[in-house]
């Protein structure tokens, strides 16, 4: 590219930048920028034409201001103008501004695309390159749409300059990465592949990046590249360091190209063609040989370049995994690196060896380096290298060296970094389990592990020990003995106490013969740790105690004493208190036979995948899949130990039973018989429900009349509930107006999409009731609640109820629900107080047939005065005392408020206890027939006065 000529140095820009840099404070900087912006604006005003140079200068300043973090909202047009300049520097600044500042939806994009097209079709290679760079830098979909078809043509055209080809290849790669669907190679494929044969190494390097990316998506189309790549590689590898001139980097011929070729080959299986394969093996051998040669330069760049190729070659060898000879040689080469001065090399060597260890051919070879690796684990200064060393040890472990490796890892654990301790613990636990021949060794190892790094021992690890001990008869006695000894340490980790409590509770009898570990000694030892432990551990210990009562009847009195003391039986923690109370009762009531049955030894756990492995996988995350995959493949060869996944089991228990904080400590499995506190009442039943005594409500009916009826006499509550949705209601009424709040609660953890609710008034209700609402949010997040407000106006008397229709999408399925909204005429009642005299005077006035309604209905259960009163008040009327001469009767009065009129209403309820019949008179002072009042009195019947 032509260098910026001296005369083009923009002095104004330099002055501006130095001014900005000299600003003492933010405020001063902003002032300077404002001044400059005003200056540029006055220059861009358009009344006088600017020459290219000043245009370039001002655009440059704008760019600088933008990069300082200020908004630029003008100057785009000037930048676009620069694109059509014939001067390189002006064009370059124009493209720079556009690739930094112009967003894809700008209206200028058409002009820009036009300018780019012109440059692409020009014969000037530097202009073409600039255009290609701009396309790649913007890299938007619009760019891809406009130029995706053009660029491959430039790439493969015979007369394109090499530098343009390079840019075109990289530009195409960028477009392919952003919008692969628009870059269609089809016809170009073979010609692109043949770029590997190009004379110019730069073109090959650029093209190979493109080919690697393309062949990862559709390997078959680009299969032909393998043989080309191999021949190219062999030419480079066999060339003398001087052959490639410009592309020789510190005596290494074309290192970048070599690495890329090797990486491309890693996308494909070993070549089937014998000749090609032979040539490739030859290349790889040459690379390995070259690594042995003395370095041609002391410069670090030389060795870096050489090693880069070497590591890529080793990755390829590992990828093929079919050449034992090469694998072993690679392993030896890496072995040398393990002791190299360079930390990065040691790191890479350890990392590569990890993968080598998984190959059957090189596993043995890797094992020879065990001492070095152990040494690395101990002496490396960089934690990341130590981590790799630990990974490698884990990978190279098999039955022959398990004891050594586990011992080393354990001893390292004492000094290990906190960040990798948990992982190390898991690894030790897995190795110890997998390669255990002798289970006493296993138990020792794990107890050691807990002793050394108790804080980092996760639940899964100690669950696993217990699974194994329970499933293996031969180790139980030893385990009990070891645990007992371990517990004698003055300070031992809580996890140790857990294991100890569990194992002694199960198998304490196996060591009870020894007077040094008599039952009472065992108990006292465990109990001495009790007060230092957390609640879950204490719960576990309590269970261990009850097991002791079963195992050693002689300890019964002591243990009962302990359980009976206030700190247990009145513990503030519900779980502990419950256990103490239950165990005490169990031990004092149950006969020995019952005790023995209930507190029997735990049955063997079912075989399941080790939860520790799952945990390790989770911890490693997707970044380190290779190691865990390797783990899986090795497992099949290794011995599967007995034992199930108790960890998971208890986890689910924890989820299902919220009142049990320490399910893992539940030794006895009597949880189901335990008198658990009442299950937490569902939210619905907590709400005060006047009719709740009528029986449980059916929660999920399609069209819910039931919910509707319950709301005749109350305003708040749950209208509807099913597995997905809960609808709550809160409403208030004043005169003929009402406001209802509907609460839609999403009971799931998934969001409801396109959630819509509509309220409709069917038939003539439309003219009787006016319901207004606003639409709700279309999305209801999982567990969230949204609210909707309905404004209701009663125009005139009505008997029907408005319908609420709810539609939403739950996990793709459309849910549709229609409910009756509990808006009844009685909601618009206003209670009226009146004296006995008034009441009966009015009552008598209402003598016409259509002014009166009478209903006799049965009650289901006994009539409770208070309940009845509450219901009648809920109806909205005033309950009048001392009005009716018969005190048994209930008398009510109220005024129904509608927009058109107000209607007084009197009501008398005459319960007849003997005949269990109720009798209601409801004269109304209305001019026309009121059918609805008796109707909702009818609603009352099934609830209030069930006979």
């Amino acid at each position: 590219m032509p260098a910026v000529s001296k005369g083009d140095g923009m002095r104004g820009l330099a002055v501006f930048i130095s001014d900005i840099r000299n600003c003492k404070s933010k405020e001063a900087e902003i002032k300077r920028i404002n001044k400059e912006l005003a200056n540029i604006r006055s220059k861009f005003k358009g009344d006088k034409a600017l020459d290219g140079y000043s245009k370039k200068k001002y655009v440059c300043k704008l760019l600088f201001i933008f990069l300082l973090g200020h908004d630029i909202d003008f100057g785009h047009m000037e930048a676009v103008n620069l694109l059509s300049s014939n001067k390189y520097t002006e064009k370059q600044i124009g493209y720079l501004f556009i690739s930094v500042l112009v967003n894809s939806n700008s209206e200028l994009i058409r002009l820009i695309n036009n300018a780019i097209k012109n440059d692409l079709s020009s014969r000037n290679p530097t202009f073409m390159c600039l255009a290609l760079h701009c396309i790649a830098n913007v890299g938007s979909r619009e760019m891809a749409e406009a130029f995706a078809s053009e660029i491959p043509r430039i790439l493969v055209a015979g007369d394109t300059m090499d530098s343009v080809k390079q840019s075109a290849a990289l530009c195409l790669l960028r477009l392919y990465k952003t919008s692969p669907d628009l870059v269609l190679m089809g016809e170009w494929t073979s010609r692109v592949v043949h770029l590997l044969n190009d004379q110019h190494m730069g073109v090959v390097t650029a093209a190979i990046s493109l080919i690697t990316c393309l062949s990862q998506k559709n390997p078959d189309e680009f299969k032909t590249c393998v043989s080309l790549a191999v021949s190219r590689l062999s030419r480079i590898v066999s060339s003398a360091s001087t052959d490639l001139q410009d592309y020789t980097y510190y005596f290494v011929p074309a290192p970048w190209l070599s690495c890329k070729l090797l990486r491309l080959l890693q996308c494909y299986p070993p070549p089937e063609d014998g000749a090609v394969k032979g040539r490739l093996v030859e290349c790889l051998e040459t690379i390995l040989n070259k690594a042995q040669e003395p370095p041609k330069s002391k410069k670090v760049q030389h060795s870096n370049a050489k090693n880069a190729i070497l590591f890529e070659a080793i990755s390829l060898i590992i990828h093929y995994d079919s050449e034992p000879n090469l694998l072993v040689r690679a392993c030896n080469q890496l072995g040398q690196f393990l002791q190299h001065r360079e930390t990065n090399l040691r790191y890479l060597a350890l990392e590569s060896m990890c993968t080598l260890a998984s190959s059957e051919f090189s596993h043995e070879a890797v094992k020879t380096h065990i001492e070095t690796v152990i040494n690395a684990l101990k002496t490396e200064r960089d934690v990341s290298v130590r981590q790799r060393a630990a990974d490698l040890l884990y990978a190279m472990c098999d039955r022959s060296n398990a004891k050594q490796i586990v011992a080393e890892m354990l001893s390292y654990l004492e000094t290990a970094d906190y960040s990798i301790r948990e992982e190390m613990v898991l690894k030790v636990a897995i190795l110890a389990e997998k390669y255990a021949v002798d289970y006493s060794w296993y138990v020792d190892t794990i107890l050691n592990l807990i002793r050394i790094a108790g804080d980092y021992v996760s639940e899964e690890v100690w669950y696993r020990v217990i699974q194994i001990v329970i499933n293996r008869d031969d180790v139980q006695g030893y385990a009990a003995k070891t645990v007992f000894e371990a517990l004698q340490a003055p300070a031992c980790h809580e996890n140790m106490v857990k294991v100890g409590g569990y194992i002694l509770g199960e198998f304490g009898n196996l060591i009870a013969g020894d007077p040094r570990s008599s039952p009472l000694v065992q108990f006292n030892l465990l109990h001495s740790k009790f007060h230092l432990c957390s609640v879950p551990t204490r719960a576990l210990l309590l269970s261990a105690y009850i097991k002791f009562i079963n195992l050693f009847p002689e300890t019964k009195a002591t243990i009962q004493e302990v359980l009976r003391c206030d700190s247990q039986i009145r513990n503030s923690d519900v779980e502990l208190q419950q256990r103490a109370v239950e165990y005490l009762k169990l031990s004092s009531i149950a006969s020995t036979d019952v005790l023995a049955t209930v507190l029997e030894e735990m049955p063997p756990f079912p075989e399941r995948e080790s939860s520790i492995l799952a945990k390790l996988k989770k911890k490693k995350g997707p970044g380190a899949v290779s190691v865990t995959e390797l783990e899986d493949s090795k497992r099949e060869g290794g011995e599967l130990n007995g034992g199930g996944d108790r960890g998971q089991d208890t986890a689910t228990m924890a989820a299902s039973n919220a009142s049990t904080p320490s399910p893992s400590a539940d030794l006895l499995g009597i949880r189901s018989t335990a008198p658990l506190g009442a299950a937490p009442a569902s939210a619905g039943s907590l709400l005060v429900d006047v009719f709740s005594e009528a029986g449980p409500t059916a929660p999920s009916a399609a069209v819910n009349d039931d919910g509707f009826l319950r709301f005749v006499c109350k305003n708040n509550g749950v209208l509807f509930e099913n597995q997905l949705l809960q609808i709550g209601i809160k409403s208030e009424y004043r005169q003929n107006l009402g406001r209802m709040y509907l609460f839609y609660g999403n009971k799931t953890s998934v969001q409801f999409a396109s959630f819509t609710t509509t309220v409709s008034c069917p038939g003539e209700l439309q003219s009787q009731l006016n319901v207004q609402t606003k639409p709700v949010e279309p999305l209801v997040e999982g567990g969230a609640q949204i609210q909707q407000v309905l404004n209701i106006e009663c125009l005139t008397d009505f008997s029907d109820a408005p319908l609420l229709n709810i539609k939403f999408r739950y996990g793709g399925a459309l849910q549709n629900l229609t409910l009756k909204l509990p808006v009844t005429i009685n909601k618009f009642f206003q209670p009226t107080e009146m004296t006995s005299h008034d009441f009966f005077q009015r009552w008598k006035q209402l003598s016409q047939p259509q002014q009166e309604a009478q209903k006799i209905f049965k009650a289901n259960n006994s009539m409770d005065t208070e309940v009845l009163k509450a219901k009648l008040l809920g109806l909205g009327t005033a309950l009048l005392d001392n009005v009716d001469p018969n005190p048994e009767n209930y008398v009510c009065a109220g005024v129904i408020q509608t927009k058109s009129q107000q209607v007084g209403c009197l009501l008398r309820l005459e319960p007849n206890a003997q005949a269990q019949v109720q009798h209601t008179d409801s004269p109304e002072r209305v001019s026309h027939n009121y059918s609805s009042i008796p109707n909702f009195l009818h609603y009352l019947s099934p609830y209030s006065v069930n006979i």
Partner: protein
């Protein structure tokens, strides 16, 4: 109580750091740091460093400007005030009285400026020994102590160590003064001429709608005094406070009440210098005090009713097409024509895409300041009941930005020789029973200055 006090420059470098308690910088602040894998107890300097860094990272260098003066980082509270480019931050882990902390910080600013003038980075650096000395005196284990400049100056001086050791009497005098009831004045002051200066300084704030409707207005004022009086004089200050005058009016003749009631003002709230006897103010609403020697601020007050607005700004903005804007602003002075307003400055904001401005004004000088995106019109002097105008033609550059110009308000600065709140000093009496000078012998000077605070008119 205050755990520590730091002074930062604008780059976030610590200039002064004084830690009174070790609790700051512990526990929570550790979480701000990257993973620390060593459990070795950290030295105190390290604790301090955490707190220092936390404030720098989270407040001074915060991506978004921190507006709240109190910031909570990892259960540690940082109270800060900013003076020009200097940040003062008090740090505490406890639940302290925030107003106490801020009062202390303000007091500390006062003390520092009384000792070395403007609080700037250079001044702080030049006086850092003095600042530490002051901090030792005014804050003890995080509890604020006597921070009265007059008292501090008796024993913390800038002259370096005095050559002669103070006599016993001098020492005991300092002790009794610092610990005594009247901490702000020492005994035995003598002047040949007993003089007294009283300034009423007010700043008037206004927000007005384009139609001339007052949206909000208030005056915040200060009574600043300078006294050169001998002995321990007892002073009594009286002004046209509505409550006092109404009370007197009830006692005295009704025609006097009517006459003076017109001129009296309603004070919304006020605060006093510590020398004022508050009990007397509460019971009689009279302001009596033994004044400190030299400069001090006797009281602050705020009024919102019957404010005399010295200027009225009438804006006229007309948009002529997309590329032109015409602005005309008229200012009218609204006070006695015998008085002269000074230092008048009108600031008319311009749109962000202004590409050129033409200005015509009848009086004063006007200039388009691109760096501030505003037209600044300056008039040196202007008498009352006058009017003047400026017209500007603003050329705009069309942008592809659809954002409309927000039209910020036109603001104004001025200085007038009267109190816009209407406050009048009625009397200032001096009694000194021990020495033989009376109220008449004291020379008293009174001055009123009204300045603009935020004086804005929407356009």
């Amino acid at each position: 109580m205050i755990g520590g006090l730091f002074i930062y420059n604008h780059k976030g470098e610590v200039l002064i750091s004084r830690v009174y308690r070790d609790d700051i910088g512990e526990a929570g602040l550790k979480a701000e740091q990257p993973i620390i894998s060593r459990s070795v107890p950290k030295p105190v300097s390290c604790l301090k460093r955490n707190a220092v860094d936390a404030f720098r990272v989270n407040v001074i260098h915060a991506r978004q400007q921190v507006r709240s003066p109190v910031t909570n980082i990892a259960r540690t509270s940082f109270f800060h005030v900013k003076r020009s480019n200097i940040w003062l931050a008090a740090v505490t882990k406890q639940n302290v009285n925030a107003t106490m902390v801020f009062e202390f910080l303000y007091k500390m600013c006062d003390v520092m400026s009384a000792y070395f003038g403007k609080i700037s980075e250079e001044n702080v650096k030049n006086n850092f020994v003095l600042i530490y000395e002051l901090l030792d005196e005014i804050l003890d284990f995080g509890y604020p102590q006597n921070s009265e400049t007059g008292a501090l100056k008796t024993f913390i001086t800038q002259q370096g160590i005095k050559s002669q050791v103070p006599t016993k009497e001098e020492q005991s005098q300092i002790t009794s003064q610092v610990t005594g009831q009247i901490g702000w004045r020492r005994e035995g002051i003598k002047y040949r001429r007993n003089e007294l200066f009283l300034d009423v300084l007010e700043s008037v704030n206004l927000l007005m709608s384009p139609q001339g409707q007052v949206l909000s207005a208030h005056v915040s004022g200060r009574v600043v005094m300078k006294s050169y009086l001998s002995g321990m004089p007892e002073c009594k200050f009286g002004m046209n406070d509505k409550i006092v005058i109404d009370k007197q009016g009830k006692g005295g003749g009704s025609e006097e009440a009517a006459k003076s009631g017109k001129q009296s003002i309603a004070i919304d709230d006020c605060t006093f210098h510590q020398c004022v006897r508050l009990s007397k103010f509460d019971s009689e609403r009279s302001i009596s005090f033994i004044p400190p020697d030299g400069d001090y601020e006797l009281m602050r007050y705020r009024t919102t009713k019957d404010i005399i607005l010295p200027f009225r700004v009438i804006p006229l903005v007309r948009e002529v097409g997309r590329t032109k804007l015409e602005v005309k602003v008229v200012i009218k002075s609204n006070f006695k024509s015998s008085l002269l307003a000074q230092k008048i400055e009108v600031r008319i904001p311009t749109p962000l895409n202004t590409s050129g401005v033409q200005l015509i004004c009848m009086k004063g000088k006007a200039k388009y300041k691109a760096s501030e995106n505003a037209i600044v019109w300056k008039i040196k002097r202007m008498a009352g009941m006058k009017e003047s105008q400026i017209s500007a033609e603003i050329e705009l550059l069309p942008t592809n930005d659809k954002k409309k110009w927000a039209r910020p308000p036109i603001s104004m600065n001025f200085e007038v020789p009267f109190a816009p709140s209407g406050l009048k000093v009625r009397y200032l009496k001096v009694f000194e029973p021990k020495l033989n000078y009376s109220d008449h012998d004291v020379i008293k000077w009174v001055r009123y200055i009204g300045r603009s605070g935020i004086y804005e008119t929407r356009c």
